[in-house]
Symmetry: C2
Subunit: 154 residues, 2 copies
Amino acid sequence: MKLPIDEIDRKILRFIQADSAQSMVELGDRVGLSASACHRRLKALEERGFVAGYRAVLNRSKLGLSMQFFIELSLTSQSDKTFEAFERAVRDIPEILECHLMAGQSDYILRVVCQDAAAFERLHRELVARLPGVARIHSNLSIREVKEWSSLPV
Amino acid sequence: MKLPIDEIDRKILRFIQADSAQSMVELGDRVGLSASACHRRLKALEERGFVAGYRAVLNRSKLGLSMQFFIELSLTSQSDKTFEAFERAVRDIPEILECHLMAGQSDYILRVVCQDAAAFERLHRELVARLPGVARIHSNLSIREVKEWSSLPV
DNA sequence: GATGAAAAATCCCTCCT
DNA sequence: AGGAGGGATTTTTCATC
């Protein structure tokens, strides 16, 4: 498995991160290659595992999910059992979009979305606070996304 | 502009969030519709603004960007000038993938990625700490992503 | 080994029922 | 909403450098 990727490969990765719905002709034009050469390179990049997948990005506010929070929380114990039970439960709550195990004082950071303050209260009281092993919760409201959906720097 | 979307529309949105590279035949099968009917619905959803775009998701670790941080920071003043200068600068730093204006004690939360500890030190010292108007910085390392790339609950 | 051009296979998208 | 058709696009083949 050859590891290095050249500047053209990086361009391809940059462009498909920004927009994966363009045709091979367009993509080829942008990177200075024919459609077939560009296609071959993209397939090779996929084959080598550089592309995790292709996804549609939805309009959150259009779906009524205009509130977003980062929730920091700690667990009552550091045992594997506690962590595993917590993580399993997290994965089953669709409003929790992300969950990070953190170094530092807070054990976890969650990113959650919801429709309004009432929905957040319900989400907080009935789901997050009841996650197994939760000791301390601190919620932070995102007022505005200054920068979002940014591409990875390749 | 008609607002309500039905259960089939929601299914379409769910599936294209998880994988936008499937054909209309596949997608139609999953939602219980013919390819042409499914195509019509998807185009209508795009037309009405439910789809913000289509993107490739890359493999971070494969690109050597295996470290991820959430950086909380406050600014020295609450003036519009300070905020604008800060936000403009943030948008120009590719390692900063996201930036949220927050309610609560910290003014902003950034999500950044980098290759290793050395790269983070450089990023922190030479870019983040020098952002205009920065008063206080607190960095949090994400040890592991328990849940990531989760679809919006539609 | 990688490229571009052209062929083959597939898919998108419109029209019609 | 489903099906069929034409047109575009993807994907493979092949000659060339």
